[in-house]
């Protein structure tokens, strides 16, 4: 009687402990307690059992296109696919505990360009070289800029490039071709109004196009709509200008150079654009709010991601459909952007995961995704006649990718972007002196690289 009672008490105790340890995953306890691992029964993939692949992705159009095609894969292979889509900021914090555990829930993840160094440096991603060799999967079809950023790191392939979100200029063709505006511009500046090719010219045009059309004392057409909320957006707005002015984050010895002439100048242009050509609320905008202003026809230009044009051109979503076009970033160098598919080391079913990757990145499926509006990373898809017929502007995107610059691949990349975002936001919304802001960012960036496995000093 007594023993029985003790045993059942013990059992209850263990059950409570298990539940408690699972629910106690707080930021202060980064490492998983052993009990967390015990709750996942590692099930090796047996052919008799139906495998379910869990994939973590971002809530963007390219994810939707994959979701639409997944039933084909499920039918062909009998493997079930479960895609979980989250917003950008939510993804990273969800991934960290998953990736640092020995056994996670996700079989496949998508990796943003600025997480590559971090995930590879921490050794969280499974190298794909053996799978690629065994399947003789051809990686030479990828645009080199994409494969070098979202494929291999120091000779080892960790990812397959998924889609590009390289940045460029979207402008309103109806405004740039308006004869009245053209005459006015020529009278004022002595040269014709054209799509700008330098940062100076771009800032000048954006300020010129900002106007009060109905004369009520309030601006109703902005020269530019920006995304200046503290986060990856404000960093991208600045980096586009920074790259086009010829700047770069670090010198060859990994000393931060953002506080040089180009970095400060780019920030001054950014502030000039915000104060004199953009909606006042832009300091609170992310890319979707920024795009809303464009879709409502209240802005003449925006610097944005390659996939955005498809949305702006869709009459169901946008009042300016048919009146927008894409160009290379004024000054010549946009921010290279893209996502890569990867299999985490903690994946429960790596073999099935590779099966999915080789399917989703096959020419056929990649082309179908592109035809829906997806952004290719493969040359053969980007230049496919059928795809080009549907999206003639893909030749501009090819130029954008060829000229864009990627962020540096090292473990502190996301932290670097975060530091810059804070200082840029301080300067744009808080009136901090641009030189001071960039000096402060540079000081912190120099500390980031110390001890990083991907940094060779």
């Amino acid at each position: 009687m007594k023993k029985k009672m003790q045993r059942s008490l013990l059992q209850t105790l263990i059950a409570v402990l298990l539940i408690a340890s699972v629910t106690s995953c707080q930021p202060t306890t980064p490492a998983p307690t052993p009990a967390v691992e015990a709750t996942h029964t590692p099930a090796p993939p047996t052919p008799a059992k139906r495998v379910t692949l869990n994939i973590l992705m971002e809530t963007v159009p390219d994810t939707e296109y994959v979701q639409r095609l997944v039933p084909q894969f499920e039918k062909e292979t009998g493997i079930k696919v479960n895609i979980e889509a989250l917003t950008y900021v939510a993804m990273h914090e969800k991934l960290i505990p998953q990736l640092s555990a020995k056994q996670g829930d996700y079989d496949i993840i998508v990796v943003d360009k600025q997480w590559v160094g971090e995930f590879v440096g921490a050794d969280w991603l499974l190298p794909l070289d053996n799978y690629i060799a065994a399947d003789s999967f051809d990686t030479s079809v990828y645009i080199p800029a994409m494969f070098n950023m979202l494929g291999q790191v120091k000779g080892t392939t960790y990812m397959l490039p998924f889609y590009n979100y390289t940045m460029g200029l979207v402008y309103r063709t109806d405004i740039f071709e308006d004869p009245d505006i053209q005459t006015e511009y020529k009278a004022k500046f002595g040269k014709p109004l054209e799509v700008p090719t330098s940062v100076e010219e771009f800032v000048q045009i954006a300020k010129f196009l900002t106007r009060d059309e109905d004369g009520d004392g309030k601006v109703d057409l902005y020269g530019i709509t920006q995304q200046l909320a503290r986060g990856v957006g404000i960093h991208a707005e600045w980096a586009n200008l920074f790259f086009s002015l010829g700047g770069w984050y670090y010198d060859e010895n990994w000393n931060a150079t953002v506080n040089g002439e180009e970095g400060v100048k780019a920030l001054e242009y950014l502030i000039d654009l915000y104060k004199n050509a953009a909606p006042e609320g832009a300091t609170g905008y992310d890319f979707d709010e920024q795009a809303q202003v464009m879709k409502q026809g209240k802005a003449a230009t925006m610097i944005t991601y390659s996939w955005m044009l498809a949305q702006l051109d869709n009459p169901e979503q946008s009042k300016v459909a048919g009146k927008v076009a894409l160009a290379v970033m004024p000054g010549g160098h946009g921010v290279q952007g893209g996502w890569g598919w990867a299999i985490p080391r903690s994946a429960p079913h790596p073999d099935a995961a590779w099966k999915f990757l080789s399917w989703v990145e096959s020419f056929e499926i990649a082309k179908q995704r592109a035809l829906m509006g997806g952004q290719p990373t493969r040359f053969d898809v980007l230049r496919d006649p059928e795809v080009l017929k549907a999206y003639p502007y893909f030749d501009v995107i090819e130029k954008m990718i060829a000229t864009a610059k990627p962020v540096p691949i090292f473990g502190g990349c996301a932290a670097m972007v975060d530091i810059l975002a804070r200082e840029l936001s301080e300067a744009v919304a808080g009136g901090k002196d641009p030189q001071q802001a960039m000096d402060d960012a540079a000081a912190e960036m120099n500390e980031l690289v110390i001890g990083d496995p991907l940094v060779s000093k």
Partner: protein, 289 residues
């Protein structure tokens, strides 16, 4: 038989002690250990014992003080406004006799929505170009502004959103307190010709003191940890004007992946909260005596 009883007694205590050990003490000790290491997740080969370097760096960092200041400003202004509005609502509720439950349930709705949803709703309402708040302000001629996008208004806006959500909590606690008050002192006061203001000041507030303290302590502890609202509404921006301490720690740990510094900062903050709570609770106990 007697021995058995003693043993059984301990058996009953062991589960809660063990749960406390696992849930509370173990993470505390583990994070204390981490806080003494140079521990950045993306630098697995560069990890070593650095004793109190993390504490030193956190204490020397001006961002820490900014986060602390923002947290204190945010928490105290929010709890103050919630207390005032909560008391007014509770007092009004106790004076009306019809539809009381219906009104109370309606007022409690914001409290039941998750903070993430609250954040998203308000982000849309406050959208500078397309939100309804600025539209309405425009109609009455005040003219809107980017509430969350400008440094001078962002923190105040977040405070007001929190007040909107959590005033019902204060209301319900104080309302319960008001109902429990004895009737006799009020009857005596009315006979003596006391006005409503005098009744509130000389009778209700002193008698409600303990309840007010408890409600304030609960709200304060909650407010000092605020993270989700900030995360959705501003992500600490513009600049660092709304970066609360919890958000700062989150950034250290999950963006910079610097677990050592994040643990050190949380430790310092836990100590601070513990002292503040202990202070308030001692006052409460002294009040009882």
């Amino acid at each position: 038989m007697r021995r058995f009883r003693i043993q059984l007694k301990y058996w009953f205590v062991i589960p809660s002690v063990a749960v406390m050990l696992v849930v509370l003490i173990f993470p505390l000790i583990y994070s204390l250990r981490i806080s003494l290491f140079y521990y950045v997740l993306s630098k697995p080969t560069h990890r070593h014992l650095c004793w109190f370097d993390n504490y030193k760096n956190v204490l020397l960092n001006s961002q820490t003080y900014n986060a602390l200041l923002v947290t204190l400003k945010f928490s105290f202004s929010a709890v103050f406004l919630e207390l005032i509005f909560g008391f007014v609502l509770a007092y009004c509720l106790s004076k009306i006799s019809y539809l009381r439950n219906a009104i109370m349930s309606t007022l409690m709705v914001p409290m039941m929505i998750t903070p993430i949803a609250i954040g998203l709703i308000w982000r849309l309402l406050l959208h500078p170009e397309l939100g309804i708040v600025n539209y309405l302000l425009d109609i009455i001629g005040i003219g809107g502004r980017p509430w969350l996008g400008s440094k001078s208004t962002a923190l105040a806006t977040v405070v007001l959103i929190d007040v909107w959500q959590w005033t019902p909590f204060m209301m319900i606690v104080l309302y319960a307190g008001l109902l429990s008050l004895p009737k006799e002192p009020f009857e005596a006061a009315i006979i003596d010709g006391a006005t409503a203001w005098q009744q509130i000041y000389y009778l209700i507030l002193p008698m409600l003191r303990n309840i007010i303290t408890i409600a304030v302590v609960i709200r304060l502890i909650d407010l000092l940890r605020t993270y989700d609202l900030i995360y959705i509404l501003t992500r600490g921006g513009p600049g660092a004007s709304t970066e609360t301490f919890s958000y700062y720690v989150f950034r250290l740990g999950f963006v910079n992946l610097d677990m050592g510094a994040a643990s050190a900062a949380s430790f310092l903050f836990v100590i601070l909260i513990a002292i503040a709570t202990a202070f308030l609770l001692t006052r409460l106990r002294r009040g009882e005596g």
